[in-house]
Subunit: 459 residues, 2 copies
């Protein structure tokens, strides 16, 4: 069945599999030991580091392997912040960073540090001038992803890196989503990556720290990986990670062009074949393999199940999906609709046929969920009201928006509908609904229970 969730985890690249098998035989011993098996392991580790460093665009002695991309981020942020403690305790992150970055930022704040979150535009792109303006004398570190993991938007890293360098603030770049496609351009100071995002195995992250960047690893360490990643090296996986990074890079230019066409096809076709849909993310400055859209009057989990039944595996930034009850902070920061959200991220090798088939099953999948939820069909019979209050307490996304959509026709143009809701995403989705349908979002105020969201009918 077509797996369209490469941005969560790419299927293992054949080269990774082959290298992993070979290294299970040749690279299981401790590279710190002096005997034959240890020396062989050391050679493999050194060669892997050289290959990875070349792909990243740094010196081998600037790069260490960690147990995951998350660990690389946690270690990189804590180490860079501690290394710059004398400069101050101010941390800058974009609002759409991976949660691992935001978790690190929250810990920093909990320890008395200060965090500035830089907002993004409706396309998910950070405003470089806002980012630059946030730089202060006491800024210890700035963090910016190379590209967003949920909507694929590429960030202005080179531009921001230049200003950071000029002001002496180190820039950490989370390159997890883009490393498969090429090195990160510009003068970054710290860079992280995650092998299972590019078709390598799980269990391997990259942390590169440029020479000259003040860096002080926090917590207990040992003599492994230059004292930056404690614990026995996962060498077979490291070998597989490095080999597959080299392999995907060799195919990157051609595959990027091919996948970009396929995601462009989805971007163009989805609004034609599904009503009330918003394609999100920057239409131009984007990764080749990711496309994300949200469907009104649909809950993400049900839509995922429908698509799964139709044999398509995608993910969703909607609330109520999987173990999370809050919507994606990325969609929230972008101010776009979070309900009925679908992220399609194509692994290398995805065929046009599969994408065409996805576009064939999507409308039925959406229609099926909408039908079950009682989504509005046609306009409600006008009642000529000036004002209407909808009590949707206890109802979860997307029900409050469905009720709003059904009710809006009952008030006159210029009239208001007030939705009382205790659903966490109500504001985001009501705002986004107004944006999509051309109505005015007037504002919100606390109600006896939950909040009252006021919408003015314009058309």
């Amino acid at each position: 069945m077509p797996y369209f969730d490469a941005a969560t985890s790419a299927p293992l690249h054949p080269v990774a599999r082959q290298a992993l098998l070979a290294a299970l035989d040749e690279g299981w011993a401790d590279p710190a030991r002096l005997y034959r098996e240890g020396r062989r392991a050391r050679l493999l580790l050194d060669a892997s580091r050289e290959a990875a460093a070349e792909a990243v665009g740094c010196r081998p002695d600037e790069l260490v392997f960690t147990a995951s991309g998350t660990q690389a981020l946690h270690t990189g942020i804590a180490g860079a912040l501690a290394g710059r403690r004398r400069a101050g305790r101010h941390l800058i992150v974009s609002a759409v960073e991976h949660s691992a970055v935001l978790h690190s930022a929250a810990v920093h704040e909990g320890q008395g540090g200060e965090v500035t979150e830089i907002p993004v535009d409706r396309g998910g792109r950070v405003d470089a001038s806002l980012f630059v303006r946030a730089l202060r004398e006491d800024t210890a570190l700035a963090c910016l992803q190379s590209a967003n993991h949920e909507v694929g938007t590429v960030q202005p890293v080179a531009e921001i890196a230049e200003v950071c360098r000029a002001t002496g603030v180190p820039l950490l770049v989370d390159a997890a989503q883009s490393l498969a496609w090429g090195p990160v351009e510009g003068g970054w100071s710290v860079l992280t990556g995650s092998a299972h995002k590019w078709g390598g195995p799980a269990g391997v992250g990259l942390l590169a720290v440029r020479k000259g960047v003040r860096f002080s690893v926090q917590g207990p360490v040992d003599e492994r990986e230059s004292g930056r990643a404690p614990g026995f090296e996962n060498l077979p996986a490291i070998v597989a990670a490095a080999a597959s990074l080299r392999a995907v890079r060799a195919e990157a230019a051609q595959e990027a062009a091919r996948l970009r066409e396929l995601t462009a096809l989805i971007r163009a076709r989805v609004p034609e074949i599904v009503a009330d849909v918003e394609v999100v993310g920057d239409p131009e400055r984007r990764l080749p393999h990711i496309v994300t859209f949200s469907c009104l009057y649909v809950d993400g989990e049900s839509l995922l199940h429908e698509l799964d039944r139709a044999e398509f595996s995608v993910s969703s930034g909607s609330s109520c999906t999987s173990s999370t009850l809050t919507p994606s902070h990325v969609l929230k920061a972008m101010g776009v609709l979070s309900e009925g959200n679908v992220r399609v991220s194509l692994p290398p090798g995805t065929s046009r046929d599969d994408v065409e088939r996805f576009l064939t099953v999507l409308p039925d999948a959406v229609a099926s969920v909408r039908e079950k939820l009682g989504a509005p069909v046609g306009d409600a019979s006008p009642s000529g009201l000036e004002e209407l209050i909808l009590d949707t307490l206890g109802k979860r996304c997307p029900l409050p928006v469905i009720e709003l959509a059904k009710a809006i026709g009952r008030v006159v143009a210029g009239g208001t509908v007030t939705v009382i809701s205790d659903d966490e995403v109500a504001e985001l989705d009501i705002r986004a609904w107004c944006h999509l349908r051309g109505h005015e979002y007037v504002g919100e105020k606390p109600a006896d229970q939950g909040w009252a969201y006021v919408v003015r009918r314009l058309i």
Copy 2:
């Protein structure tokens, strides 16, 4: 070539290899996702957790998988200390814990915590009464390994766990070396393990925290592994780890009996075939597969190279081996000879033939190193001196001891030899030499350069 360093990393068990291959196909997706590949991954993760928990002797919801045994220890110690912050900030560890425990203890001390290190006897075993006496009202956590990784000595865990439980102090047990042989008995609170020690793959550790133990994970976390081990699960390796733990346990009783005989053979034979050797570690209460000995007038690195040339891979706790310049803290804590140290740790399946062959090549390997270093042969011609001073400044282990051994015959019985040395291990090895040769270690005092170590000839 025979690999006798299982205590560093065991070769991959065939079951682990098989399970890893299967899980690369079935378990590469994100277990937190709702689609088919994700649900399949979740099932594999759940089944692995159940299998591992059964082997450990805990409930599945008490056990999480970490990226390494080291990470399990760092997380376990920091989490247990933080969970008990109200009780106090006193931490107890044995002096022969794995360096990952001692690194955590050092960090705790650096943050204002207090650490008590419990000494061990010459066999490497912690005195339970000393351990118990160290428990205080403000003790937040006590740490004790199930068995020592360098000399194989089994620790009195059950006895200490009982007292800890009675006094309300949680006991963390590092079970890395013993999990292959059976569960840890007694009422431990936190337990850690490392898959590559039992023939599983690298990249997987275990952290079990009993229900009711106050535990507060430090640093950034996410929703994975109950919030105790952030980052994408390394599922193929987890599956392989759990499967191989079950497999080695099925073979454990029989294999333990077989390896115990082989290590007993080494323990008995080495002193017969090599002069001036000390077999270290508790002769009875020990792991089946580990035996350690130290050879006078030999440096560990040269001996390892000689054995490697003879196709045997062993490790050493001597200084000057591999990347470390200090002798093993374990040998130091035991007060035994550190020079010419060899640890033999037999992987399951080791044949008697290989062990016999090891015993055949060992004497020549030792003799060859001794010859190169000019180790003493026969007694020095007596000079009838009352007192002799040896300047060995700048000479590294084992040269100061070799010079001492050559000189002792030149003083009369009751006379003294004073060794001036700036080698870090001189005291340890001169003390151990006196113990082995029946002379008196009088004491040490600072010299103009280095230290002066005074030895009285007794026989």
